[in-house]
Amino acid sequence: MKIWIVVAFVIASLVTGFSAHHMVTTAPVPVAIDAPLSARAAFDPSEVDAVKLYLENHPESRIHPQFFFYDFDSEQARGLFQSARDEGIEIFITTQPSSTAIASIDAFQNPGMLMINTSSTTLRISGRDDYIIRIIPDLAAEQYAIAEQILSSNNGGRLLILQDAQNAAYTDPAYTQFQTLLNAQDRWRVEHHRFSFVDFNAEDYRQIIHDAHDALYVLAGDFQTAIGTLSQMFHRAHPTAPIYLTPWSDSGAIISRLGPAAEQATIFKHAPAWEQSAAASELMKSFIDRFGYRPNLMVLKVYKALELVDQAIAAGHTSASAVRAYLLEAQPHTTSLGDVPLDRMGDTQGEFTPVPANSTRQQP
């Protein structure tokens, strides 16, 4: 009789333990993902649809996405992180530009909240022992690549730089970096202008653009369509002059506004450029087939970030500290879109590839 009681107790313990283990290892893990608020009530749904596509492709994923929206207001964005934290969310995947994210950096200095950053290139994040994992290179590497390309070209010596003043947290240090690098040679004479996308009027820049220039560098981010408009205006004035664009111009809306300027425009993309990666091209194509529109670059970044978080969760890590430790220790991380090598500060190094905008327009 006693042996049966012991056997029943052992079986009950095993079943309970297994059930508890099963519940713990299969419970959904909330992950916050933010997306930008576009004009008025309309949004660019690229990020949201990227998450949707990822979960459709990974039905076994334990990620339970929670969406938050920012409207490029840093204080509003900071509030978003806090409200997500209040809801018990510890892991955030953010697509905020530097100017928006910068106000929230301090919130990620201690355990409890982990940011997977896909879009802020500000140097304020670089080399810090914090709870921010950035899966793109910072602006230093980016500006180095662009400057090197310009320096190696033979198209005269008059460079027009149009800087987005609205995203100064990114463009100011970027411009400083770029100028430092460009000054290594005294071949280029720079004409630098700041502009704002708020109440943007193209005619205001006609005279500047129509002055004598040999090249244009639009130092801007946030996938603002005015980049395309300005580039086209420049191209009309200087049909053979090259136009250099940052990675944050890689969106269907900007490229469609380039018009004929696409023939002379070059976008510096994170290597390998998605046009040159079979996996990334296939993902973009499946995205367009699934949702019926061409998304911006952030689809690939968000998708990659989700894969990294999913790997950590699959390895049994669900807290901010555990996921951070996993991502920093279990190197290198391989995703379907390529490797993500992280240093001990959670930064990644990477190269850039100049891709003609015209070829990007033809993809996929």
């Binding site: 009530a41 309309a42 949004f43 660019d44 749904p45 649809d49 943007f200 369509t225 018009g259 696409a262």
Partner: protein
């Protein structure tokens, strides 16, 4: 009728409970299905109503688009008069451009706002609007809802080709935004328009942060609470007009339905419980009580120990009454059966007593007859007289045989006969039986023995009964065979390590048995026919007893026969080998010649019997073997002689039934006396029933010899008992 064992068939209490639960579950399912169906139908009706709102808005939207288009076209007709361009501001279009064939903006005709990303010289080629315009064949058409090139705001463009140029107007959507906002505020339902991918382009509620509109019927959270999506297609713009309807109403109705259904289910459950409880009181408990009373009745306990419950329904009262009547009737019948049983038992006892008395009454005179006959045969008489004495001897033996057969049959039928097994060597037994039968074999009959297949190994069997069976069958075969052969064949038909099956066939070339009689040869008191009885004599009990004995040993017996050609009787017995260390039973062959019997020199026997004749006969048997004899006519006299100081008596032959003091009492006294208790006491009795033998042995006798007394047997038993004491 088969009564299923407990636990195999559910009881009424369980069955009723299961039935109630099943019905309750079924009704619950029915209610839930009905409620779900009603809720879905209601939801469908609400969806249709919401869709109707979206359709109305869509129609209004389309109407306004058509009106704007008409106005735009009217102004274009005035285009020759450049003053007419001023009228564009009244057409509902915020921006109007002229494009060349390459879709390059050549002229800004009208611009209502100061800041714009467009400028003269801007090319629409390669963009979504340019792609769209290039693919349209109609001269005039609206673009899909898209982000405006001027300011990223939601925009609808209208294009009308006129000669080499295209007039492109951007609709001022502020009116529509106001319309959607107004509708949202008044109706409490957010109205919005999405592009073909579902991306929200114009919303009547700016606080709503909805990136992509879900499918129709989906429920989403909004700042104002939970809302359901209802939309309709806007073909003119390749867009969707949607309204987000608060689900408060449907949720409330749903809540009411669920509450109602829950109350209904709980109510039904309560009714079911109440009914179950009443059912138990009214039916199940009375039935269980009745069942208990029936059990009590079956177990012969007092029915009234299980009290009658309070019956609520009359049917159970009637059932109770019928039960009591049945109990009374059964008790009466039981009483009658008991009386009949007692009568039968009494009759059986009487029969047993009769047999015992018969045995005693016949054996005692038979002892005298055979005893005197034996004594006479020992005398030197003439051959004629010797022949007559021989006939008396055979008749006495036959009478004894009949008596033993009747006693055996009686014991078997009463279940008193037991099989006592001991190690036996079958071939030795068969050879000995054959030797005995060959002594009296007719001249023309040969008795052969085929025992080559019998292993020389002892088996466990009741040798006495086996010999009895073989003597019956072989004796019959010899009796009914006047010429030819009686053949006894023994073989092992199956053999294991320890178990065997022994089959013995006894074939003869005698008269055989006709087919009609064959099935009855093993019935008691049966012979082939009355003529056979007359010719061959016999009780007809031998085969019946043999069959009973064989079946008692777990075997079977059979016969095949052809009238006039002979018969084969066979039997088969399951037996086991005796352990190799076991000794075989001593089977002694009674010596027919008294001269070869051992001497009783030195034996002083006291013969105790109330019959003077019996005393004389036994005295004659023993004196012929040199024994010293003393006589006593009852137990008391015997004790007196035994206790005499000079008594040299060393063996007592004691009759069991005597006046004054019977043998049983006398033996008990001997066993109590320290000086006498070692004396061998051999009981002589005419009662050979098992319990009679048992009583004698219990009283202290060492051996029991049945009447009629065979001299050799008596001598052997005396010597055996004396030897035990030396």
């Amino acid at each position: 009728m088969m009564i299923p064992p407990d636990g195999q068939t559910p009881g009424l209490r369980n069955y009723n409970l299961r039935l109630e639960i099943s019905v309750l579950l079924l009704l619950t399912l029915l209610i839930l299905t009905t409620v779900t169906y009603a809720y879905q139908e209601m939801g469908r009706a609400i969806d249709q109503s919401n869709k109707a709102a979206a359709t109305t808005l869509s129609s209004f939207f389309t109407f306004e688009l058509e009106k704007a288009k008409d106005n735009f076209n009217s102004v274009i007709e005035l285009e020759e008069d450049r003053q007419g361009r001023q009228l564009f501001s009244y057409t509902g279009f915020s921006d109007v451009y002229i494009l060349d064939e390459r879709l390059q903006l050549t002229q800004i005709v009208h611009q209502s706002r100061q800041n714009s990303m467009l400028y003269e010289g801007f090319s629409f080629g390669d963009g979504p609007l340019g792609d769209y315009l290039a693919t349209q064949r109609e001269a005039e058409h609206f673009s899909p809802l898209m982000r405006g090139y001027e300011d990223e705001q939601p925009s609808i463009y209208y294009a009308k080709r006129s000669g080499q140029v295209t007039y492109l107007g951007r609709l001022d959507l502020s009116f529509f935004e106001s319309l959607l906002s107004g509708y949202s505020d008044v109706a409490g339902q957010t109205a919005l328009i999405t592009n073909r991918a579902g991306v929200v382009m114009i919303s009547g509620n700016h606080s709503l942060r909805l990136p992509v509109l879900p499918e129709d019927g989906m429920v989403i959270d909004s700042p104002d609470g939970e809302v359901a999506v209802a939309s309709t297609y806007l073909p003119a713009l390749n867009a969707r007009m949607a309204v987000l309807v608060p689900t408060t109403l449907s949720r409330n109705v749903q809540g009411i339905l669920w509450v109602l259904s829950t109350v209904l289910i709980i109510g039904m459950g309560s009714v079911a419980l109440l009914r179950n409880w009443r059912m138990q009181k009214l039916i199940i408990e009375p039935l269980e009580a009745l069942s208990k009373r029936m059990d009590a009745f079956r177990n012969n306990t007092v029915v009234s120990d299980n009290p009658t419950p309070d019956y609520v329904v009359s049917e159970f009262e009637r059932l109770e009454q019928q039960f009591l009547e049945m109990v009374s009737a059964v008790r009466d019948r039981e009483s009658e059966l008991l009386q009949a049983k007692q009568a039968a038992e009494s009759s059986e006892q009487a029969k047993t007593n009769f047999l015992a008395n018969m045995s005693h009454e016949i054996r005692s005179p038979l002892t005298v007859i055979l005893g005197i006959n034996e004594l006479l045969m020992r005398r030197q008489l003439g051959s004629k007289e010797q022949e007559m004495l021989e006939q008396v001897w055979q008749s006495g033996q036959y009478l004894l045989h009949i008596l033993n057969a009747i006693l055996d049959l009686s014991k078997i039928e009463a279940g008193h006969l037991t099989i006592d097994t001991a190690p036996v060597r079958i071939h030795e037994l068969l050879e000995r039986i054959a030797r005995q039968h060959r002594v009296n074999l007719p001249e023309d009959v040969r008795l052969s023995l085929d025992i080559n297949n019998i292993p020389d190994r002892a088996i466990l069997a009741d040798a006495v009964r086996l010999e009895q069976i073989l003597n019956n069958i072989i004796g019959n075969a010899i009796k009914f065979t006047s010429k030819g052969e009686v053949r006894v064949k023994a073989r092992i038909t199956s053999a294991g390590d320890t178990q065997i099956k022994l089959r013995i066939d006894v074939s003869d070339t005698g008269i055989g048995i006709d087919a009609k009689t064959l099935p009855h040869v093993f019935d008691p008191f049966t012979q082939a026919d009355s003529g056979t009885t007359r010719r061959y004599a016999g009780t007809g009990l031998g085969l019946a007893i043999s069959k009973q004995l064989i079946e008692l040993m777990g075997g079977s017996i059979g016969v095949t026969s052809t009238r006039g050609r002979g018969s084969t009787f066979w039997f088969e017995l399951p037996l086991i080998y005796a352990p190799k260390s076991a000794r075989t039973a001593e089977t002694t062959e009674l010596t027919a010649n008294a001269d070869l019997a051992p001497s009783l020199m030195g034996v002083h026997a006291l013969i105790v019997d109330d019959s003077l004749t019996i005393r004389a006969i036994i005295k004659g048997f023993l004196q012929a073997r040199s024994a010293t004899i003393s006589l006593a006519e009852n137990g008391l006299e015997a004790l007196r002689q035994l206790r005499a100081p000079d008594s040299s008596i060393n063996a007592v032959i004691m009759d069991m039934q005597m006046p004054v003091m019977d043998g049983m009492t006398a033996t008990q006294e001997i066993r109590k006396d320290p000086d006498l208790k070692a004396l061998p006491v051999i009981a002589i009795t005419a009662g050979l029933l098992p319990d009679q033998r048992e009583q004698a042995l219990k009283a202290g006798v060492d051996a029991v010899i049945g009447k009629p007394i065979v001299a050799e047997t008596l001598v052997e038993v005396i010597l055996k008992e004396l030897n035990k004491r030396h």
